[in-house]
Symmetry: D2
Amino acid sequence: MIRFGILGATGYTGGELIRLLLNHPYGEITYITADRYAGKQIGEVFPQFRTVLDLSCKELIVEEVIEECDLVFSALPHGLSMKFVGELIKAGKKVVDLSADYRLDDSEIYQAWYGLEHRTPELLSQAVYGLPEINREKIKSASLVANPGCYPTSIILALYPLLKAQIIEKEGIIADSKSGVSGAGRALSLNSLFCEVEGGLHPYQLGGVHRHLPEIEQELSKAAGEQVVITFTPHLIPMNRGILSTIYLQPKAGITEEKVRTVLMEFYEQEPFVHILPAGEFPQTKALVGTNYCFLSVHWDSRTKRLILCSAIDNLTKGASGQAVQNANLLLGCPEKAGLELTAVYP
Amino acid sequence: MIRFGILGATGYTGGELIRLLLNHPYGEITYITADRYAGKQIGEVFPQFRTVLDLSCKELIVEEVIEECDLVFSALPHGLSMKFVGELIKAGKKVVDLSADYRLDDSEIYQAWYGLEHRTPELLSQAVYGLPEINREKIKSASLVANPGCYPTSIILALYPLLKAQIIEKEGIIADSKSGVSGAGRALSLNSLFCEVEGGLHPYQLGGVHRHLPEIEQELSKAAGEQVVITFTPHLIPMNRGILSTIYLQPKAGITEEKVRTVLMEFYEQEPFVHILPAGEFPQTKALVGTNYCFLSVHWDSRTKRLILCSAIDNLTKGASGQAVQNANLLLGCPEKAGLELTAVYP
Amino acid sequence: MIRFGILGATGYTGGELIRLLLNHPYGEITYITADRYAGKQIGEVFPQFRTVLDLSCKELIVEEVIEECDLVFSALPHGLSMKFVGELIKAGKKVVDLSADYRLDDSEIYQAWYGLEHRTPELLSQAVYGLPEINREKIKSASLVANPGCYPTSIILALYPLLKAQIIEKEGIIADSKSGVSGAGRALSLNSLFCEVEGGLHPYQLGGVHRHLPEIEQELSKAAGEQVVITFTPHLIPMNRGILSTIYLQPKAGITEEKVRTVLMEFYEQEPFVHILPAGEFPQTKALVGTNYCFLSVHWDSRTKRLILCSAIDNLTKGASGQAVQNANLLLGCPEKAGLELTAVYP
Amino acid sequence: MIRFGILGATGYTGGELIRLLLNHPYGEITYITADRYAGKQIGEVFPQFRTVLDLSCKELIVEEVIEECDLVFSALPHGLSMKFVGELIKAGKKVVDLSADYRLDDSEIYQAWYGLEHRTPELLSQAVYGLPEINREKIKSASLVANPGCYPTSIILALYPLLKAQIIEKEGIIADSKSGVSGAGRALSLNSLFCEVEGGLHPYQLGGVHRHLPEIEQELSKAAGEQVVITFTPHLIPMNRGILSTIYLQPKAGITEEKVRTVLMEFYEQEPFVHILPAGEFPQTKALVGTNYCFLSVHWDSRTKRLILCSAIDNLTKGASGQAVQNANLLLGCPEKAGLELTAVYP
């Protein structure tokens, strides 16, 4: 059995990793850290694990992590994660980092957007951006995977094949994204209180300042072969899980809705987790809750000659921990769907 | 006291009319119709009125409406409303029609989008599109007000002054709108069931087919002085009330965020119900629940040279019944805020 | 105009006081305190007040409160409130204290349940427990009103008339209460996060340890003329506002459902805010959102010979700030419904 | 592979059966019926199955069911289910009936509570009430299992061992139950609309008239060895899934909280799906969403000498389809947990 470790196990992505790994046929969770809850049984922190996992939270001691784990998921916040990842990699561990610390190729861009000097810039070149649908082969031979952000996953999966195929204009792309509240994490914040959220919605981080922008543009630019800059507006929706990105763009001359759908279908033909909806249908985040799927749809507004893509995921699964498990499976040579063959709990 | 009648009083806009009119200093509700609930006390249909309104639902008999009411609100569905409005107008009544039947100037466009031949096309030219901020003087001297749709209210209020001032490009406008479930009304529908909605969101009517489009474009075209066509995508959000429209557009050369905000502030300077937020702030629908306000914000994405407007209303108040009361006040010469001086219930 | 002050204006009960007082025909808010937000406009803290109240939060300085206000609402937490109330009373101010500090007649019971020595035990005898339906005359001539807790309001209003009339057994009363999340206040707490609450419910404080018990039993004992002890279980429900108490009890021999309903109806006959539902109907908290009503229903289980009472209120209105305004009106000789003639926002 | 059929596959319990059986290691779904959706792919009805189940809904033709299935789940409404179950049993099929049609031993009681004459009363004696924790051995050798109701599951699991052990009074038991909306099914009903439910709660079916009462009392009476009659009040909570029953009762003289907890722990010691919480903890329905667990807690109110039990399940899983799969496993000799080893999706 593969021994999995989770750093920062008591946030929502940590909890989701535990849920998925409990279901993993080739591995088991052997080590979980959570400074704040050190010494507590995980079932005391998350009652859903009370009957299924007998493990207590540890303080993070790198030597112990190295001793006890084959593959480590870091669900620590950015800035903190890069304090530990270097040593783990040096010790020969495989690491999937769910923070933003290794997503950007360029440490200066990291510093500009996150306001922190990077501690291990030398690792950036060997870290692979963990979108398996795009970087599968690189991930297989890597040691360090930078697990993508939730918004980026929804947006890049929709746009990458179209930019790659050069069938859409790279100018003027707009992503209007809507996310459930778990995306804000489990930290105490006035804006995450039930009574502040329930019954309303709002945009935030308007005008091109959200930290997910540089990774979105980095990956889309690779697809396009030139610099892509997009407009991105996130919104907070009163629901636990789910992201829907509604993406507006211009197809190149002569490119039809059908052509776009076909390009997406071909690109994702072999993919277990990306599904292109038939014409006339749109995705619902509810149908994806707890699963690693991304559902994509393509719509054509003939009145304005504009293409609309809808991309839906569960932000905690394909947008975080599910994708992390998918990446871990690739790192380890396991079947890619191991631990991820789940159907949405509905309603 | 002015005698108010409500046709179709047992849907959500009907209920909201009752709530507001109960609070009206110059009038009282004298007649409410609801075929399905004829004979029932309104407090049996809506328990919130049990202690405050002793009135039973009637079958709709036009002669009685004429006899009993000075001003009639029609909250009937489109198609049905136009069966009665003509007679009421002929009898000299003032009418605020909340349906779509009198919103479009052109009966052929009505037929094209609603699939119905118009029964009283001769009334279209005398009906005024009921956005007081734009058509106040016309409304004052009218008999028939076509109360705007909820999405149109949120979108037109944001864009009208800017198109009028010729400071934005009329091409390429995108409105990505998010609405609470009450916008779908109180009719039985699988898509409106709690368990189908709670915990998820989805877009609908993609690609330029939503029936609110023609009225949006009709009014925006008047502002621009030429044909305006926009991209509009509605989304269903798991909350009772509220609409947020996030609107993407291109300012004309040299037009800054500040200029746009200033134009809006000047246009709405005297308006009791439209509020422009200061730079850096965004609206939250929750802060408007149950009120007749529209909150607008302006944002500039310097990276993509695109302007983003956010427009928030309560779909049942400013987006329907509150605006209807505002229009009624204008028709009747009452103070415009009569019945509408309410603060949001929060949380 | 009466000058109202609010100590602790930026919690949910503070916000609800502002909403109601904005609507008050005989007074205006002149002074609000909130140490954490001192210097901030109230509209920056609660965006719903942005357009309707131009007032900034002050640090609490007792001399200024005395100078600027005629009647003071204290929405401070228990323990903190009693630091200030004494001086206000000494200065001749009327005070409605929404905390628990003056609800219990006996300072030792206060200390036993709240773990604090009472700072002004001498005021306890002059403080009136602010249930106007029971203590109206005493409130009218008082200076200090101890505004009841939310659960107690729902439970006492249901039981007081029946114990008073000696028609139910005082032994074996069970109140199973369900509350919305705003009852937990606006403080940062893991248990109040949206993602911890949404989609689930749970009981808490089981086994007779909730701090609302002593005031419930104190008032019920006064009704019964002897010591009443009840079983009380609170539950947290995923909604913003509302309390429903389902109360199980034994009628005395020969007492029918109709008799019980009649006793309640007679007791509350003149009351503007308590409504007894007809046989066969039950209250819904949704119909009371934002209002000062209490709806009561009576049910008989003939199979088990047990009576069931249902009592619904809005925990922030009749359960806190609405009742506080009602008490203030009595203290000031205003019409009791001033500021409180509101209908529920529904849906 | 065992061939599973589902009659009435497009309600919420039908959908939950599909979700669980997709995960079943020893069987596959071969036949699903839904008259209203006959001919439609299940993925068109429930988008969550789009990528995982390629099966279309059939009209219910008993001969085909017999031909295509080894074990049949009937998720048809009561009254309809008994039209088909007899033939299936006659044909030698194993049947788990999720309706109420075979839960009551006595056809007259069935008629009294459900208002229908029983079509196959002769089958009642061979049908086993499907609570595996109580009737495991009988289920193993049965052909027809009457799957318990959701409220009964939560209540009987809490009380059965205590009545059996004669350590509680059989008089005066009260179950105050709270259920998510999915318990009302997927039928169109005003009371199930999002806008009618969201933001409020209410009791219903008060006074001993809910149809789950006879099966609760039938099974509790078997435990006690004499007639048990209880007070039961259901409430509708604004959440998708989950039931919490808060149960009030009197222990027999000398019986302590610890004794009660010990009796429950011993009774359920070997049970995979029933978990007794340690002293001082209470269950949260959220931690059980999508799982087959029942969490029980025991509390003592020393002030009133009353015992409080809390029992939480997911109404669609342990309260319906999960328990049905558990029963099917017993009927078929599969491991009891097959298809049911799931952890809650949280948040």
